[in-house]
Structure formats: C-alpha cells, structure tokens
C-alpha cells in the first residue's frame, strides 16, 4: 500500500513508531495474530476440557452429594431423637403406672392387715367381755348367797339379843320367806 511514504518502517508504522491509520486494519499482522490466537484457543480448550471443567464439575457434584448426605444424616438424627423422646415418655409413663400399682398393692396389704388385726382385737374384746360377764354373774350369785347367810345370822343374833331362843330352822325359813317376798 503506502510503501512510497518516506520513513515508514512497514506499511502500518511510520519512522516515529506511530501507527499509520488503524492498526486493526494492518493486514501484514493478520497471519501472526491468527496463528497465535489459534494456538491460544487450542491450549485453552484442552486445559478446560481435560482438566479444569471436569474438576470443577466433580467439586460441585461432591459438594451437592455432601449437602444431600448431611441433610439425610440430620433427618436420621432427628428421627432418632424423636424415637428416644418417645421411649423416654413411655418409660416415664410405665414407671408412673408401676409406682401407682405398687402403692395400691401396699395400701391393700396394709388395709388387709389392719382388718385382720381389728377383727382379732374385736374377738379378743368380745371373749374378754364374755368372761368378765361370767365372773360378774358369779360374783353377783355369790353376793346373794352371802346376803342370805348374813340375813340369817343377823336374824339369829337379833333374836338372841331380844332374849329369845333362836330356832335356826325357823329363822332361816323366815329369812328365805322374806327374801323371796
């Protein structure tokens, strides 16, 4: 093109090292730029498709897997915790029922013992009362006989004191008569 211009070192650069026109349109440089661009693109493509992209894909997949596993593990632990809580509640309820049962049993046992003791005591009391009554009856009978004897003796003494001669049979007959009356 502009080969006749003085001082130009090439068709695109003048002697001062400045661009002539647009460097983008300097066709002298095109083969160089295209050659190195193709090399660059091939290298980048190989690096990306062989190393970088599979690696990043693996990292992302691994992370996704880890997250999924962790979530599953968390879900599992949550279920376990719920089961444990349920078992605890059940054990608590069982223990409470057991305690109530034992308390009721003890109460029943004590009540039975108490009833027995009361019944025995009642029987003993009744027996003692009967015995006492018998003794009292004996005493009472004894007393009546004593009264008769005392009354006869008194009557005899009275008759003697009055200067009579006491007839034992008549006195006792009279006393008996009076006592009956």
């Amino acid at each position: 093109m502009a080969t006749e211009t003085t001082g130009a070192v090439s068709t695109c650069v003048d002697s001062h090292g400045s661009a002539i026109g647009m460097p983008q349109l300097c066709f002298d440089w095109f083969p160089n730029q295209i050659f190195w661009l193709v090399i660059t693109l091939v290298v980048v493509f190989l690096v990306l498709s062989r190393v970088a992209l599979p690696r990043i894909a693996a990292i992302l997949a691994e992370r996704q897997g880890t997250i999924t596993n962790d979530l599953a593990a968390a879900e599992d632990l949550k279920a376990k915790a719920a089961a444990a809580e349920e078992a605890y509640t059940k054990a608590l309820a069982d223990a409470r029922a057991e305690a109530q049962r034992i308390a009721a049993e003890a109460r029943a046992e004590i009540q039975a013992g108490l009833n027995d003791a009361i019944a025995k005591a009642d029987a003993e009391i009744a027996a003692k009362a009967a015995e006492s009554e018998k003794v009292i009856a004996g005493i009472r009978a004894g007393a009546l006989e004593s009264i008769e004897a005392v009354a006869k003796d008194t009557a005899e003494a009275l008759v003697d004191a009055l200067g009579g001669k006491a007839d034992a049979a008549a006195v006792s007959g009279a006393v008996e008569q009076r006592m009956k009356g």
Partner: protein
Amino acid sequence: MASEAHAADKAAEHAAEGGSLVFHPMDQFIVKPLFGDGAVGMFTITNSTLWMGLAVLAIIGLLVLSTSKRAIVPGRMQSIAELAYGFIYKMVEDICGKDGVKYFPYVMTLFMFIVTANFLGLLPKSFTTTSHFAVTMVLALAVFLTVTILGFVKNGAGFLSLFWVSSAPLALRPILAIIELISYFVRPVSHSIRLAGNVMAGHAVIKVFAGFAAIAAISPVSVLAITAMYGLEVLVAFIQAYVFTILTCVYLKDALHPHH
C-alpha cells in the same frame, strides 16, 4: 488511504513538536515483535503473542490452580472459578437446552479467553488482543462455521427451515427468507466488530483523555475522565465477553433447533 493517514499523522506530529498536544491513541494497538525489531512474520513472537500467553496463564491460574485443593468449602479463587463455571453452564443450558450442554467446553473456552484478554488489556502498558478485528473475526468465524456445519450435520436440509419463517403469511416468506439469509451471513461481522469495536473505542478514548493531561489547567478533569472511562471499560470488558458468549449460545441454539 494509508498515505493520507500518514500525512495527517505527520501534521499532528509537527504540531506536537511545536509544543502543543500529542495524540497517538492508536499506537497502543501496534503489533511489535517482542525480540528485536524485524518484520512481523506468521510465527514471530509479538506483544500480541505475549498477552495471549498471559491470558492462557491467567485462565490456568483461575480455573486449574485455584481448584487444585478441591475444597468442599471453596476459597475466594475457587469461588470465582465455580461462579464462572456455573454462569456459563447455566447460560448454555438455558439457551441451547439439555442437548446443548455438550458444547459447553467450547463456549466456556471462548468466554474465558475473551474475558481474561479484556481484563488483561485494562492493565496499564498492556496490549489488548481482543481489540483487533483479526482476533475477533477468527472467534466469530469459528462460531459461524461451527453453527453452520453443526446445523447441517444435525438437521440435514432441515437446517434451511431457519430461513423459512413458517409463522409468516405465505406471500411474505420468500422476502423474509432473503432477509434472514442476509442477516445470517452478517452475523460473524456484527459478532466480531461489536467486541473489537467496543474494546478499541474505550482504550482509544482513554488515550485521548490522557493526551489532554499535558495541559496543566485541564489535567485534573482529564484524570477524572480517565478514571470514569476506566470504570466504564471494566464494565465493558465483562459485558462484551458476556454478549459474545450469549450470542454464541443463541447461534448454537439455531443449529440445534432451527425451527422457529
């Protein structure tokens, strides 16, 4: 054409020698040999080669080294790698469908190269490989050829139904077919010029503002303007890589499911 440009350049330089402003906004795009200063041949190692190589190293550092620990709880760099992976993977899956996922490494290659080259280009004194039409055109043509070949391999002649809008009235269909055909062939052009144009324009504008910094009175404004432009360029660096990638996905979808 070049001689006229050269003449204009010469005039600017004479003015510069006269003590006024010097503008060489396009010098940053010059491809130079890295060693010596011979001609730029096909296999010459140039500044373009260097920055492409640095992009490769950056991609390896970001996607390979950062993930070497394979941590379940990722560190910062690994998070970025995973974010980039998820971002493009989801884009491919959403746009191309499940059967498009096998082209994910291809799309990821394009995205990673463009986004790292764009960001490396934002370093001071760097060379922006994606500001050159030669580079973006190769990327766009690669997508265009892939889509076209894949479309015919997958669908046979059915791929042509892409141009036959069956939902339109019958009389309109031939006209639409011509429009669709033209738009199809314009795709690589718009696809590549959009990327290189955006990147180049931003870098050139920053250089122009930098030229104004020579005047003491307006240099604070110039520095502020450069700062603002730089912020915008950071945004553009990502957005253009994103746009290029999403369009690649859209074109791939056409190849896989050509029916409207």
